[in-house]
């Protein structure tokens, strides 16, 4: 059914809500993390069981987007009981239906437990992981079925679009976005309203808006979760943006490694078209607009605006000199606005709640919230959304729950390969664009990787450099050659072959690449090296002067040995050893033959008694 007026849309939302409000609803998390842990089977079991019991019509069963607490999946939430279960297996389903759904009895063992206090939480909001978050962009993730537009409409979806098209001029929309202080969530933090104004002012017979869903940062999955969990919020934001700048065509560029996101978007676009939110004369206004999907074929550099444009045009994804900026000359030479997934998803919220409300969240220069994927050596891995200005400490210690004992957190890597590693001593830093940049890192798109005392910072720098030399497009010399040479130097340090002179050369090279590369990839490529040198220089020096890796990571500088006091002589490590390098008899301490050992670490992995030590 095509929606023609705002009143019609509101009436439909009201009707949908009324029909659903009193019906029990089972929401199974369909995020990638939960799927990998078997949530599809959980969902199927709910459906067959309810069918057997003749309750298919009485209970709604939904597959929703990511709930965020990926560590504890599969996650299931029940309404109206407001119970949040974690670690649910298919075999738990019968108990959930007969006890919680039918009788309202809560199953204690499925509730999330705070490892520090032992307290179990019944509702999602009672879990410490969620308590300090401010879920705004993610507010409907976990509530709605992303493949059913009616769910989004029931929650007030597309009303911001209706308001914009029927009550506001394009200039008024731009002014609202400017007043909100929204800045790009893709990395650099350019003011969104300003970008839109420039595109509106640029002459062009046609204009484009693009959603950058390439999310190339390793260790990041914010955009993936938004696209998979609430695709209509992104689509609605893009239509509003297109109206504001005068674009007639939109493109969502999404990486092929996210097949579920592509599929969810295809469904969502078709439903938006059927409802009249895309196509000709939207909301009976003169404005017409449509969106197509372009699948990215895998290139980190495509995160750079001009390189993304080249990829959209079917060419090799190489950046070009700016200016002219894409808002002046973008796709096929027409003015183009490129914003990332999270930026677009913020747009309907600003129109709905007003720019002043939005600007009241965050700091003086960084407004609103930011989503982070909190991963690495931290207890609660998952997806979090916090108001800007929260300190790193609150995010990592309070929401993330710190490092799993007995390890201690040492640093956090923020901003992906273009970002930097910040030490624990800087954890009181507020998370905003300027503070992070000053410290040598950057906001980036929101990857946040926690590192503990078993993480070697030189190895981390080498890892990122390996990534970057691989992803450097090769167009400009400083980046193409510089990243390779820096990688070689870092490898030499990790292998204990480097001298003090190499360290000097590395620093000099980092400065040259930073200052002379063509695009953002090369200009920020040295950041992981520069920040680790700035904050963790003693680790570099230990590798060079003492031929020692303090974290016990760099293979050339470590040995595996068996602690005879801890070894119980269980023989468990003998068989897996690919070198037959471990000798020993039952109930006798085992010994590793260092001549044969290739340091694969499998003995360390299988030992249940912590007897295999790295020295």
């Amino acid at each position: 059914m095509k929606i023609r007026t705002l009143e019609q849309l509101r009436a439909l939302a009201e009707e949908l809500r009324a029909a659903r409000d009193h019906r029990p609803c089972v929401r199974v998390c369909g995020g990638t993390g939960c799927r990998a842990r078997g949530s599809e089977e959980v969902l199927a079991r709910f459906k067959t069981l309810l069918q057997e019991m003749g309750l298919t019509e009485a209970v709604d069963v939904k597959f929703t987007g990511c709930h965020g607490l990926c560590e504890r999946g599969p996650l299931v939430s029940l309404a109206p009981q407001e119970v949040f279960y974690q670690g649910v297996e298919a075999d738990d389903v019968r108990a959930i239906v007969t006890e919680t759904l039918a009788r309202g009895t809560v199953i204690d063992r499925l509730l999330a437990q705070d490892p520090r206090t032992g307290k179990r939480a019944r509702r999602e909001q009672e879990i410490p992981f969620y308590q300090r978050q401010h879920r705004l962009v993610l507010r409907f993730n976990g509530l709605l079925d992303p493949t059913d537009i009616r769910d989004y409409i029931a929650l007030g979806g597309y009303q911001a679009l209706g308001t914009a098209l029927t009550r506001l001029t394009p200039e008024a929309v731009i002014e609202l976005i400017e007043r909100s202080g929204l800045r790009g969530r893709g990395g650099a933090g350019f003011p969104t309203g300003k970008k839109w104004r420039m595109a509106r002012a640029a002459p062009g017979s046609r204009k484009y808006v693009i959603c950058n869903g390439d999310e190339g940062d390793p260790g990041a999955f914010m955009d993936r979760s938004v696209l998979e969990g609430n695709p209509h919020s992104v689509i609605e934001g893009m239509i509003i943006g297109a109206y504001a700048v005068g674009a007639t065509q939109g493109i969502i560029y999404v990486r092929e490694e996210y097949p579920l996101a592509v599929q969810t978007l295809e469904i969502a676009l078709a439903q938006a078209r059927d409802s009249g939110f895309l196509g000709k004369e939207i909301f009976d206004s003169p404005f017409s607009f449509d969106i197509e999907i372009v699948r990215g074929a895998g290139a980190f550099v495509a995160g750079e605006e001009t390189a993304l444009i080249a990829a959209v045009e079917g060419r090799v994804s190489e950046p070009r000199q700016r200016p002219p900026y894409p808002v002046q000359r973008g796709v096929w030479g027409y003015p183009t606005v490129i914003n990332n997934v999270e930026t677009w998803a913020n747009v309907p919220i600003i129109l709905e709640r007003g720019p002043e409300w939005f600007a009241s969240l965050g700091t003086a220069t960084s407004k609103g919230t930011k989503i982070f994927s909190l991963v690495g050596k931290v207890t609660n891995t998952g997806l979090v959304e916090i108001p800007m200005g929260m300190t790193l400490r609150e995010l990592i210690e309070e929401i993330g729950g710190g490092a799993p004992p007995p390890r201690a957190i040492k640093a956090v890597q923020i901003g992906g390969p273009s970002g930097g590693c910040l030490p624990k001593t800087l954890f009181d830093l507020p998370i905003d664009y300027e503070s992070l940049t000053e410290a040598g890192a950057m906001m980036g798109s929101g990857g946040l990787i926690v590192m503990d005392d078993r993480t070697c910072m030189v190895d981390v720098a080498r890892y990122f450099m390996d990534f970057l030399r691989d992803e450097s497009c090769g167009k400009c010399l400083p980046c193409r050659e510089g990243t390779n040479r820096m990688y070689e130097l870092l490898t030499a340090i990790c292998e204990g072959r480097a001298t003090e002179l190499d360290l000097e050369l590395l620093e000099e090279l980092a400065q040259v690449v930073k200052q002379t590369s063509l695009c953002g990839l090369g200009q920020t490529a040295p950041n992981p090296v520069l920040t680790t040198l700035r904050y963790f220089r003693p680790e570099y020096e230990a590798h060079i002067r003492e031929r020692r890796c303090p974290a016990g990571v760099c293979k050339a500088l470590i040995r595996y040995v068996i602690n005879a006091e801890r070894c119980t002589g269980c023989l468990a490590c003998l068989q897996p050893c690919p070198q037959q390098a471990i000798r020993g008899q039952l109930k006798q301490p085992h010994v590793i033959d260092q001549e044969r050992c290739i340091k694969c670490g499998i003995c360390h992995e299988v030992c249940q008694f912590g007897a295999v030590e790295i020295v």
Partner: protein, 158 residues
């Protein structure tokens, strides 16, 4: 190459659709066969060298055939910190090939991938599209053994 024709047909023989066309060919054959590239070049009227540069630039394309089972080890940052590299080394030992290669019997292809966005499950291995969360070297050898056993007896004999 009827299938290649159909894929080109679906998008239209235009330069701007070339990447999508190659993606679909890759999805169908699990690599880009030489004949398919020649066909696309002729139909879309672009030089073969341009297709070659696209095919070698983007990570998702392969110019060599893939094995029956495709093993992909994630080397995103979280997976790296939690031992992804060790898994790569274990596979190199077990399969006797380097990453990006296929075993001589055509049973396994082994690749690495830069983050599939499932970092809470690190370290992660994908086998034939299925996610294996929190992988260890030990579990990996067990999965490989199972896949080897599952191979039909007739094929092994041959």
């Amino acid at each position: 190459m009827r299938e290649v024709e159909a894929i080109i047909e679906r998008y239209g023989a235009e330069r701007r659709h070339v990447i999508a066309i190659l993606q679909d060919i890759q999805a169908r054959f699990h690599y880009l066969p030489r004949e398919a590239l020649l066909e696309v070049a002729a139909r879309v009227r672009i030089p073969l060298i341009d297709l070659y540069s696209i095919a070698t630039f983007y990570n998702c394309f392969s110019l060599i055939p893939r094995g029956e089972h495709v093993i992909r080890v994630c080397l995103g940052t979280a997976c790296h910190l939690k031992g992804g590299t060790r898994l790569v080394e274990a596979l190199e030992r077990e399969l006797g090939v380097r990453q990006g290669e296929m075993t001589a019997d055509g049973q396994f292809s082994f690749e690495t991938v830069r983050c599939v966005g499932a970092c809470a499950l690190a370290p992660l291995v994908l086998i034939d599209g299925r996610y294996y969360p929190k992988m260890t070297q030990r579990k990996l050898t067990q999965v490989l053994a199972r896949l080897r056993r599952a191979r039909p007896a007739a094929e092994v004999a041959r």
